[in-house]
Each structure stands twice: as structure tokens, then as C-alpha cells.
Amino acid sequence: MYENPDGVMIGLEVHVQLNKLKTKVFCGCSTDYHNDPPNSHVCPVCLGLPGSLPVINRKAVEAAIKIGLALNCKVEEHTQFYRKNYYYPDLPKGFQITQYDFPISSGGYIMIEGEDGEHRVGITRAHMEEDPGRLVHEGTIDKSKYTLIDYNRSGMALIEIVSDPDMRSPKEARRYLDKLRNILEYLDIFDGDLEGALRVDANISIMGGQRAEIKNISSHKGAERALLFEIVRQKNVLRRGGVVVQETRHFDEAREITLSMRSKEEAHDYRYFPEPDLVPLKISGWAPAIKEMLPELPDARRMRFVEQYGIMDDHAKALTSERKVAIFYEEVAKIADPKISAVWICDVLKGELNYRDLTIEAFRKEDMLSVIELLMSKKITEDGAVDIIRTLLDKGGSPEEIVKEKGLLKVEGDIVSTAAEEAIKENPVAVSDFKAGKEKALNSLVGSVMKKTKGRADARAAREILLGKLG
């Protein structure tokens, strides 16, 4: 049991941009604006010009239902839109179209890896809304004289996913974000690599204080950092006998601190009222058909991998934690031995990719198959296989070429045998230590054999041969 000594409670609000749709949520402007000039994907609707009328994108509603179902939510019988009124230049209309007391789905959960094993995080609701425009400030936000506005983003379909305050540490918050992103990628409804695809606000409180809402978090790592800072700050306030007040704080990513925003800005008074230009939706009847079409989600795929391929659960979990890796694995495992494939992809390839900050796209499945084939036919050693993978990532080429260039073909047994004899002759101390019962001394002899064969000997075989000669 995780004791949660500080009584930390974290809830997250995640905004997901449905950037795989072709058009915005209430107008037919194209969503493909990321490489285009500002204000080139706008129309009277998303500019909020008088007399324009929003009409909702059917596919956006389907995507919202997909998300709701994937998060184990109930798709509501009746759902409708509201105007959330506030005056800020990112909203051309003076209000944001969003949802309020009738969200499209609510009451779900997801399972994450918690501080003490599987941990359930409740999903309060997942609702639809429109994205505001993008503001650019010359210099810093507090020194800039002007606000520059690009409305290309204005009106992009967003799903806001609100969790219950069920996370008990910054680490759990990060795991929740990772899991959520993974599920959304499986659903194929957004491209997480595009700027602004996933944005996070965090609510956090500790025992004896009120909650702070942290805005301006732009990455999963940022969320963890902001929350770590916030726990320390709130504890310090309480330790000094102060009061932790309810407030909105701004995360300064560069300095990794949170700053109180001026209280006037928090004087939220959104005066929600039903959006008269959009009629209510009664779409719970769509849910069964959409549920049928849902792709296999990470948890289900993990269980299937264990069952179908007989691999360890840890491997199945690592392989399914990114959709693209899971697909890569299945393509390899179709041809090569599934267990060996799992070991090499999880234990070696993923680590090498992480180390270089690369994604699975940087490695070809044909190369993975070649490496496994070379290993299985005992042409190369495990060290040689790691060397090939590293070289492919750093310099490219083909496994066969690398084997040739680097002379990685495993050396014959008699060469190892000769090297072992030499090693024994040259290291009398290690030999006597070993004979006196110090088993570790054998390692230095194995090392010597590996050195003599330039790493091309199989370490396990070298060990056997040495034992034979010493015994």
C-alpha cells in the first residue's frame, strides 16, 4: 500500500486536439495549417464574424464518442453546447463554444501503473469544445507591447478530458498522461507530434491546504516537474504556518517553478448559457456501433501478446506502451521467434532508441529480422548484435555490411580454445584464485578471452571452455 504521507491529490485536465480530422469542429476550414502562414485557414465562422453560423462536424462527434468509450465513460443520452464568455483576444467571438452540465460522456476510468501496482484513475468527464486562436508575444508576455493573433487554430476540435483527483504523486500524474496519450494514439484520432496536440492543466492539493491549478504545462515531463515544485512550495507554506489558498498558477518551464497569476485574472465569471446556434445532440444510440469498431486498446493488446506469443508480461507491457512499437513487434514476430523478438526489441532496441532520443521509425523491421536471423544461426554473438543495432542507428547501412566491415562473424571454437589456453597461461594469479574457490576470478579470464578474440567469441561458450580447461 502506498501511504501518501503528504495527502497529495492530483487531478488533470487534458486538452486533446482532434488534428486528424480534415476540418475544424464548426466550420469547413482545413486543419492542415501547421506549415502555412497565420490567418490563412479561417472563415467567417472561426473568425466570429456577425451572421455566421456554426454547424458541427459529424466526425468530431464520432471521435468524441470513441474517446469516451475508450476511457470507459458513459455516452450521454442528451448533450449540448454552451457559451463560455470571456474577453481575451484568442477568442474572436468573445466566448468559447464548449460544454457544461451535459457533456458528451462522463463517469469513466483508466488503469495506470501506480505507486503500489495497478491504480485506477477516474475520468469525471470528456467533453467537446473549440480551440481558441494562438497568441504570439514579442519578447516575454509581461513585457510585450502587443499581442499578435493567428486564428488558424481557432475552431479546431478539442476534447477536454477531466480526471478525478485520484493521482497521489507527480510520477502517477506522468504515468496517467503517458497512458492517456497511448490510448488516444491507438484510437488514431490525433497526431501527438504536432504542436499543441495535447495540453495539460493540473490541479494539486496536499493535506491541510486548498488546491492550486497550474496552467501552461506543455509536456508530460513538464507536468511532473511543475507538480514536484508545487508540492514543495505548498509544504513550505504550511510548515511556516501559512495558508495554501486556492489559486491559479503559471508554470515557468525554463525556471521549473510555478508563479501565482494576478488574482484579477482569476475573477472567472464565465456566465455560461446554452449556445442558441447549435441544436442539442442525441447520439448515445451511435455508441454500440462505434464500440464495435474501436481498435484493440493497449491493455487488451498486452494481454493478447502474453497469450498469443508466450512472452513475459513486462515485455508485453513495454511493447504495447506505444502503438507504433506494438505494430513493429507484431510484424517482426510474424516471421522471427516471438520470444527472442520481444527480448531484442524491449531490452535492447528500445533502450538504444531512448538513449538517442529516437522513435521506432528510426529502425527498419527488415534490419531487426536480419539481426535476429544472424543471432539464431549463431553467426554473431549477442555483443555483436548490439553493436550492429547501434551502428545502424548511428551510421546506417545494412546488418550484413556491418558484420563484414567490423568482422563480427563469430570465431570458431578452436580459436576460442587457443585464446583460453593463452589466457590461463598469462594470468596465473586469476587461475590460482579460482582454484582457491574465488569464482569471480573466472570473470577476468573470460574478459581476457573476449579481448583476444576482439569480442567475437561467445562469452558463455568461452566460460564453458575455460571451466573445462581449469577443471
Binding site: 480530422l21 480534415k22 476540418t23 469547413g28 476550414c29 482545413s30 502562414p37 497565420p38 490567418n39 490563412s40 485557414h41 479561417v42 472563415c43 467567417p44 473568425l47 464574424l49 454547424v55 458541427i56 462536424n57 459529424r58 466526425k59 468530431a60 462527434v61 449540448q80 464568455n85 470571456y86 474577453y87 481575451y88 483576444p89 451535459f102 504570439v136 508575444h137 509581461d142 510585450s144 507591447k145 502587443y146 499581442t147 499578435l148 493573433i149 493567428d150 486564428y151 494576478r262 485574472e265 475573477a267 465569471d269 456566465r271 446554452p274 442558441p276 447549435l278 441544436v279 442539442p280 445532440l281 442525441k282 447520439i283
Partner: protein, 93 residues
């Protein structure tokens, strides 16, 4: 009951600067609007289904098919100021 202070707050939310004269003038006006809603509240609505929309319609959709947007020039034509394709506005905090 709306006070002069409430009016000032409502004005601030809408980014309107209200003079003392405006506040004198609009506070009673808004109160009379509010009083009228008080009248409406007196109607017996027990057993009446709440309605959220004036039209008895639901489920109006658009297909996910792009249509031409405005040109950047058209998009900027209503903006008092622009710079490098952006609309330029006073900074707000």
C-alpha cells in the same frame, strides 16, 4: 439586487470602462431587468420538462469535408492593425 459594485465588475468582465454617470444610469436599469426575471420566476413550472433550446430539433451535422477558407488578405481586412500576417491587438493581461 445589483449594486454599483456589481455593475463595475460586469463592466470589467466585458472590458468596458464605466463612468460614475454610467453607473448611476445603468444600475437601476439592470435591476429592473432582473426584477422582470423575478416575475417570470413566479410562473408555476412544476411538471414542465426543461427546454434547452428554442427549436424542437436535434442532430444537425456537417460532413468532414474541407471548403475554401478566406484569403489571408480578406481575413485581415477587418483588423485595425496587422503585422506579418498576424492580427495586432493591444496586449491584455
Amino acid at each position: 439586487m445589483i449594486t454599483k459594485k456589481d455593475l463595475e465588475h460586469i463592466g470589467w468582465l466585458s472590458r468596458l470602462e464605466l463612468s460614475e454617470e454610467d453607473r448611476e444610469k445603468y444600475t437601476p436599469k439592470l435591476n429592473s431587468v432582473l426584477d422582470y426575471f423575478g416575475e417570470l420566476d413566479k410562473a408555476d413550472t412544476g411538471g414542465v420538462e426543461p427546454s434547452y433550446h428554442v427549436m424542437p430539433m436535434s442532430n444537425v451535422f456537417r460532413e468532414d469535408v474541407p471548403i475554401a477558407s478566406l484569403s489571408q488578405e480578406e481575413a485581415l481586412s477587418n483588423a485595425p492593425k496587422n503585422q506579418d500576417g498576424f492580427i495586432k491587438a493591444p496586449r491584455m493581461m
